[in-house]
Structures are given as C-alpha cells and as structure tokens.
Symmetry: C2
Subunit: 186 residues, 2 copies
Amino acid sequence: MPNLYVALAHYPVVNKRGEIIASALTNLDIHDISRAAKTYGVKAFYLVTPLVDQKVLANKIIAHWTDGVGAVYNPDRRDALDLIRVKDSLDDVTEDIKSKENRIPKTVTTCARKYPTSVGYIEFRDILAGEWPHLLIFGTAWGLVESVISEADFVLEPITGTTEYNHLSVRSAASIILDRLLGPRE
Amino acid sequence: MPNLYVALAHYPVVNKRGEIIASALTNLDIHDISRAAKTYGVKAFYLVTPLVDQKVLANKIIAHWTDGVGAVYNPDRRDALDLIRVKDSLDDVTEDIKSKENRIPKTVTTCARKYPTSVGYIEFRDILAGEWPHLLIFGTAWGLVESVISEADFVLEPITGTTEYNHLSVRSAASIILDRLLGPRE
C-alpha cells in the first residue's frame, strides 16, 4: 500500500480575483474524494479549514455517515468517511502525519504552470513506491496560493486531455491523479 | 479527436433494492462530467431523463451558465455546458447521434462483473482510435439496469485501485474512465 496522505485545502486558496480567501466546504468534495482515497489506499484524507463553523459542519457531515443513520444505510460511505481528519492548517496536517510516521512528509501539489520541482506522473509513481510518507495537497476555489505551490517538494504536471480545455473540478482532478499515481498499469 | 459521445442515464437505473427507478438530477454531475467531457474532446454529453420537471431543471441549469449571468461570470463553464443535450431515453440519444454521423453508434457501459463483451482500457483505446462513433453510458443511483449492460456492444472492466473498495461516485468514475481511454500515455 502507498504511504500517501491527501489534503483538501479550503485555506489558503485564492478567489477569481487572486485574493487569498478561506472557501466554504462542498459536501460532494468530501464524499467523492474520500471514496477515491479509500479506493486507492490513501492513509488519511485531511479537510483543512480554520473556520469554526466550517469545522462544525464538516464534523456533522462525517458523523452522520460514520455514527448516524447514514452508517447503517450506507456502510460503504462510512468506510470512506472514516478516512477524514479535520485540521486548521496545512502545518497541522504535516504535524499529524509526522506524529504517526516519525518522518516529515514530503509535499506535492498540482499547478497549471511548470516549476523546477515539476514531475510527471510516471516519475512520481516511482517515488511513491518508496516508503517515505507523501502529502498530496489539492486547493479548492481558484486554487492554492502561490507560496504553498512554490514551497512544495514536488509539483505534478497539469492534467491534459485531448483539448486545450483545462478546467476540471477538484473532484475530477483528484480522482484522475490518484488513478494515474496508484491505479493498475495494464 | 475521438468520435466519442457520453450519456448520463437517470433512467432506467436501479435503486438500492434493485428496483427500476428514474433518479433525480445532481447539479454537480452536470458540471463535473461536462467539464471532463470538454477536457477529453467528447462530442456531446447527453443527460437522459423522461421526467418533465427534471428536464426543465436541467435546461434551467444549462441556460444559467450558457446564456445567463453565469456565462459572463465563468465562460469556462459555458464552454463545457454547451456540450449538453437533454434527451428522454437512450434510444433518443442513439437516434440523435445516428442523425449526425449517418451511423448507429456502438455502445459501451461499465459494470462490476465480467461479461462476454468485457474489454480492458488499453484494448478500448485502440477501438476508439477508429472512426466509428461510440456512446459511453453511465448510470446514476445504484447503476444501469441489467438489460442496458447486457445489450451494450462493450462493457468496460470495473475500475480497480489498490484496495477491495469499489464505490466511486459516478463523477469520479467518469473522470477516470475518460482519462484512461483518452488521456496522454507517457
């Protein structure tokens, strides 16, 4: 199993005008990415938000499916949402992983531009085959702030399809990236 | 560009108890799958529902982003939602494609079980490299009714990750399948 963690950051991200904001949770981000994380053997899925009301909301959604009537109605969702941890900041996520692994995880993000730390999917599959823990960070809204990307250990190449269009939802992007990094190779 | 069409069926699908139902639209299915379809060069994305109120709702959502304030606010969404056609039935979808292509499209679905018509992703990439039109059909709710699957020309293998867990959302599954079929090969 890969030694991979995933974080979905609601802060610090940018809005359409490039201003730093804390975004609101989207219910289906929580469901879709936790189910994809469970499918590909991710060790934990962190929801990052410093907003108290959003943390309350996140924990309410998770509890509904893990302890509430949802857990009985749909145990498959319980298994996926059991992966979720709610944290105030990306630093808190790194601390949490360090406390479990006794190693500081290397971080990896995605961006539409090339960086000196840019890696392809095949190359990063090989890196993930090692034992060192890695944290794959996705941004909501219009994406992670520049400093999170430039300070990451690795930046994955943008997902390209067969067109110039490059506006996948974070749910789609996370699913495709987990499949490219961890899916079977025929 | 591939000669591929995608349909998301809200009928005929099954509920948790295996009963045939018409499911309700999910707003983010419309956005996520149209954006993935646009990314991978799909020729049209059909929303299939026989329910009048659901067709009204679908057209309202599409119009907001293609003609309404949404088109100005976010032209990238307009470009994706322009791919959508709302149809009553899968037969109507096939007819629509036939009227454009002068050929009856071959159909392909997904299922967790093996069929005589099952094909792997690599094999189906080669099939799509030809000129014949294909229609990739996804089911909402608990999936397409058995007859749609057994009558399809092809059935794609189930998506496996690195675990036994196999409960991706239709948004994640559609994204991953389009990437496996049409994404770049490094």
